[in-house]
Subunit: 122 residues, 4 copies
Amino acid sequence: MIDFLPDKPIYQQIMEKIFGDLLKGNVKPGDRLPSVREYALEFGVNANTMQRVYKELELLHLTETKRGQGTFVTEDMQRLEELREEMKQTLVTTFLNQMESFGFTEEEIIVQLSSRKRGELN
Amino acid sequence: MIDFLPDKPIYQQIMEKIFGDLLKGNVKPGDRLPSVREYALEFGVNANTMQRVYKELELLHLTETKRGQGTFVTEDMQRLEELREEMKQTLVTTFLNQMESFGFTEEEIIVQLSSRKRGELN
Amino acid sequence: MIDFLPDKPIYQQIMEKIFGDLLKGNVKPGDRLPSVREYALEFGVNANTMQRVYKELELLHLTETKRGQGTFVTEDMQRLEELREEMKQTLVTTFLNQMESFGFTEEEIIVQLSSRKRGELN
Amino acid sequence: MIDFLPDKPIYQQIMEKIFGDLLKGNVKPGDRLPSVREYALEFGVNANTMQRVYKELELLHLTETKRGQGTFVTEDMQRLEELREEMKQTLVTTFLNQMESFGFTEEEIIVQLSSRKRGELN
DNA sequence: GTGGTCTAGACCACG
DNA sequence: GTGGTCTAGACCACC
């Protein structure tokens, strides 16, 4: 179920997965997340690696940690929406910049996008 | 003119830039590329870094080294086209996978893409 | 009314609050303090946490526990005065050491202190 | 020369020391800081601990790390000044809040401050 | 049981 | 040689 890319820090990949779960609503605001040790087992990583994941999530104000009780998803919906929007813009902007830097035309981009979507979604 | 992202290998960023120049036609097949030292100066990087760039470009068969004469862009147009297509697919696939993993809907993606394009291109 | 700092033990924060009440005279020597359970409810913390608060207060000879009757503020005024003086010195010394370790000049300290006081007190 | 307080993370204490050096001007903007390994030796801590120190300093935009070259003090003097001012305010505010929460009068604070200063500076 | 800190040591990517 | 990642395992503070 979990296979990490070799060229990207594991803790980042886990962060992104949890972040994705948050944005997709799989995890609700206020929910208690699994403990560091539980997640470490589930993902097959060291507890310290998970520790770091939670620390970074907290820096983004996505989670709050309550001493001795666990880690909780922020209830600040606005912050969540902000990050979601920010992420969307960043991904799209980065994508378009890359395409442009490699000289792909707008038409090519559209064609490729739609062909991929057909392949995926139909 | 050159500002490297801190989170990506410099040699890769330079590779991408040269690759982009190739794809965009700024550099023509058969053209002689600047020497390692020239480029190292231009980009303000270590000569070893440029060495690696050229090595990797050669592994992709994008360039050929002629002893004592310098490094030249491949004249194998087909190879160039192959890589161009491959790159296009990779970028688009990666982009869509990311968007999906963060739970963005197809509609959102379209809206964001078109709004960005308007901002950029008009 | 109660919001605990995340980076400091809750039991210490509660201790400081009660200590402050003592020093400010909100609570008089000989007064009976609320029971562990009452305080636990009021502060919204675990009863064990309050237990610890009382234990530490007793170690400081600030309170005395009478079996079956509850916890009472010490009537030893001298002890109270001692602790008050001690606390004052500790706080001031710590403050000055910190300011010094960050290289703030005596003048800066004075200016900042007086500007803050004006803002607060007038 | 270095003795760490037992009740505060070592990495924080080191951070504060370096931060203090920055604010005091012992280290100039643009200066290269000792490497992780050098500092680890000097402070007698693990290299990972120093790694963390540098990471946190970077989050504060106090340092910049150049791949394979080392860690450098930011040249953004404004950022430095900002943090200095912020730190000054935070320390003073925290100090006054604490004194107030323990019921010390303004006069007591002034007396204690000046007596400490005499002890220290004359 | 929870999260947080620290150490020791290995390995990698980069310049 | 530089910083960065990861693991393994110990120990602590808090609830």
